[in-house]
């Protein structure tokens, strides 16, 4: 399940957001793109998800060019910066959403949701309204929801923003553990290098739409 991003460029009007961005994520590994606010990190994720159309370049997932595929057919999961949990659905229904969209059998949905809620440590919260969740719990639900349909690649847009230091560090460890345990191919964007170091296997820098060489590889 490798992701190859080849020569992607994107601009808003005259302003270049990304210039000839190229990246390859090996199967089952997590790669981080680190950069300051406005460097084009989120734009990169939105292009991979099919929420924005790049001016040039291709995205190849698992050998298939998905550059022109609509978002819902890309098999790309995404954890948004502010979670974007559906306020009218409870925790369980949020996690089950993607599976229901794929018309998966109810029994399998129940098993998969149970498995994921276990994984993120929220089994007891299944029937809870998402409005009552703490910041950390909401992040875990967002992660479980994105993982539930077993996407071929998971995109993480500053997934730990807004948490206090202790919770942030704990969730970063948990996230690394979960991604590793599920062998998920993932792309993390963040402005925090220490966060990237904990979660990812490789780190790239992005400054004003320009890519700097890969700076660190674990394992």
């Amino acid at each position: 399940m490798s992701l190859v991003i080849d020569n992607i460029s994107f601009s808003y009007g005259d302003r270049d957001i990304l210039r000839n961005f190229t990246l390859q994520i090996p199967p089952g590994k997590t790669t981080a793109v680190v950069g300051p606010s406005g460097s084009g990190k989120s734009t990169l994720l939105r292009i991979i998800a099919g929420l924005l159309t790049p001016a040039t370049g291709t995205i190849v997932l698992n050998g298939y060019d998905i550059s022109r595929a609509p978002t819902h057919l890309r098999s790309v999961g995404m954890v948004f910066q502010d979670n974007q949990l559906f306020p009218h659905l409870n925790v369980y229904d949020n996690v089950a959403f993607g599976l229901r969209m794929a018309k998966v059998d109810k029994r399998i949905i129940a098993e998969r949701c149970q498995e994921l809620l276990n994984l993120v440590g929220l089994t007891e919260a299944a029937k809870q309204s998402v409005a009552t969740l703490s910041g950390g719990e909401a992040k875990r639900v967002a992660l479980a929801r994105a993982l539930a349909p077993s996407p071929q690649v998971l995109l993480l847009d500053e997934p730990l923003t807004g948490l206090d230091n202790e919770l942030h560090d704990r969730l970063a460890q948990d996230l690394q553990r979960i991604l590793h345990a599920t062998s998920t191919t993932a792309l993390l964007v963040t402005h925090l290098i220490p966060e990237a170091e904990v979660i990812s296997d490789a780190i790239h820098h992005l400054i004003d739409g320009d890519q700097s060489p890969q700076v660190g590889i674990r394992h």
Binding site: R46, A49, G50, L51, P70, T71, H72, L73, R74, S75, V76, G77, M78, F80, D82, Q84, F86, P87, H88, F97, G98, R100, M101, A102, R145, A146, P149, L155
Partner: protein
């Protein structure tokens, strides 16, 4: 943080509802109670329902209201989506056009559709449904719009990344998030169409009548006050009970008039076509009205305008348009002067502790669905006994207009009052502002846009009110809508052209008032 109890507004919160309560008691509740207890013959309570005309009116009221509601919700939801999510040239103008259409006098909307539709469609259910769509689409846009506008793009994106198709996103995310607003707007649209009077009077012709028209016919033309009252009370009870059942099972969404617009997307081909068609739908009746005002039969002529403005004499057609304009203006001014302070005070009573009390919210929706015809009839019967012989007094008309307009003031100001963070008042208090000064220097400035909207809408509603006024008006105190209805009731091409001209005049006056006071209505 300063507690609410220290605020001058909240300390006397219950007392603030007093003026509104008195207004509603005087203009609606007392007359309705008196009406139902004085003139009704017990035999009529059952026998009136066996009358074929009544049965026909009841069935027609229900089914045209149902059809109009379905149609309005369908078109309204698509319009709301495009207006809240897309940025396009003329978007603000279209929103303004839709807003103005809601406060246009019903008789002029009827006249405009007579002008735009071919004659074989004039007295048809189709014409009525179309006019109801024109009139009520604003309810959907302004109730559901703020809901959808506050929904982040990323919420829809997250559904898409979870594999939802556009249709699934609509079904599982967009519709459920607007659900309570959609239900509320459907309920209000249904009640407005069920009690439709002005539009059906003009577009229904002699064959199609709602219960409201039947009430008027019985009371005024047949002199059957008892039968008319039975129908009026039954209609009132039906609407009240239906509203209460509806609001008990659901949260009531208020129609708001001011919410910041946030839309960045450029529309694709289908949205563009829909927006174009919607613009034509709203402009065509008004253009047709202008053209019809200068057509007498097959000829182009300004005779309609000349007769209307008193420049040309026409036998059997005496119109004092200037007097009618003056009377309408006077009533509109008085009505808004009553409705505004009463409505703002009621708003503070409703928004106790910063959240709207459910029961109060449903009460706020109720006066909008009480038939003005019923109110007019009830007042006529009630204030006919000494020492309350006010039935021929002119001041009853603006009081009734104020009672009808007051819910709009509440609806315009309530979201703003609720949106004022308590800490803002606390901050002012820590800076030494007394409760009264906090009200004057913090709350009033924040409320100003909503207050101007409230004034504009009160005036527009008073200018266009037809149902209640048609009962209470006297020859010397005729308002513009009454003059229009009179003109359309006369045979001949010149009265028709004059009626169209008077309708256009009323549209222009209403439009000027709404646009000059409320320059930028947002969705």
């Amino acid at each position: 943080m300063v507690s609410h109890s220290s605020s001058v507004i909240v300390r006397h919160v219950r007392l603030l509802a007093t003026p509104a309560t008195i207004l509603v008691l005087v203009a609606a509740v007392i007359p309705l109670v008196v009406l139902s207890t004085t003139v009704v013959r017990s035999a009529d309570i059952i026998s009136i329902w066996q009358n074929p005309a009544v049965q026909k009116a009841l069935v027609f009221s229900l089914w045209q209201a149902l059809l109009s509601t379905i149609f309005t919700i369908l078109v309204g939801l698509i319009a709301t989506w495009y207006l809240t999510r897309y940025q396009f040239r003329g978007r603000q103008a279209l929103i303004t056009l839709i807003t103005v259409s809601f406060v246009l006098p019903t008789v002029t909307v009827g006249a405009a559709f007579i002008a735009v539709l071919p004659s074989w469609l004039h007295h048809s259910t189709f014409a009525i449904v179309l006019a109801h769509l024109f009139f009520n689409i604003s309810i959907v846009v302004r109730t559901v719009g703020p809901r959808w506008n506050s929904m982040s793009d990323q919420l829809i994106d997250s559904a898409r990344t979870l594999g939802a198709t556009p249709l699934q996103t609509w079904r599982h995310v967009i519709m459920p998030l607007g659900k309570s607003a959609i239900y509320s707007s459907a309920a209000l649209t249904f009640f407005m169409c069920f009690t439709s009077y002005g539009i059906v009077t003009i577009l229904g012709g002699p064959g199609l009548a709602t219960l409201d028209i039947e009430i008027y016919r019985r009371a005024v033309q047949l002199g059957d006050l008892s039968g008319a009252t039975v129908l009026a009370v039954a209609q009132m009870l039906f609407i009240t009970i239906a509203s209460l059942i509806w609001s008990r099972s659901r949260s009531v969404e208020l129609m708001t008039f001011r919410v910041a617009a946030v839309s960045q997307h450029k529309p694709a081909v289908v949205p563009k076509l829909f927006i174009g068609a919607l613009t034509i739908f709203f402009l065509a009746p008004l253009l047709a009205l202008s053209i019809a005002s200068i057509r007498t039969g097959q000829n182009w002529s300004f005779s309609g305008w000349k007769v209307l403005l008193g420049i040309q004499n026409q036998r059997g057609l005496q119109v004092d348009i200037w007097q009618a304009l003056l009377t309408s203006g006077k009533y509109a001014l008085i009505a808004s002067c009553i409705a505004l302070p009463t409505g703002v005070a009621a708003t503070y009573a409703f928004s106790k502790n910063g959240s709207t009390n459910g029961r109060w919210s449903s009460l706020a929706i109720l006066p909008l669905s009480i038939s003005p015809v019923v109110v007019g009839l009830a007042i006529l019967v009630t204030y006919d006994f000494a020492p309350f012989e006010f039935r021929s007094s002119w001041f009853l008309i603006p009081i009734v207009h104020a009672a009808i307009a007051m819910p709009f003031v509440v609806r315009a100001t309530l979201p703003v009052v609720q949106g004022i963070p308590p800490d803002l008042r606390s901050a002012a208090a820590t800076l030494g502002a007394s409760p009264w000064r906090r009200f004057c220097f913090i709350e009033i400035p924040l409320l100003r846009p909503a207050i101007t909207t409230g004034i504009a809408f009160s005036m527009a509603i008073s200018l266009g009110e037809f149902g209640a006024t048609s009962f209470l008006t006297r020859r010397e105190s005729q308002t513009l809508p009454i003059v229009i209805a009179d003109l359309f009731g006369k045979a001949g091409v010149i009265p028709r052209a004059s009626g169209m001209a008077a309708s256009l005049l009323l549209v222009i006056v209403t439009g000027i008032i709404v646009l000059s006071v409320d320059r930028k209505p947002h969705v």
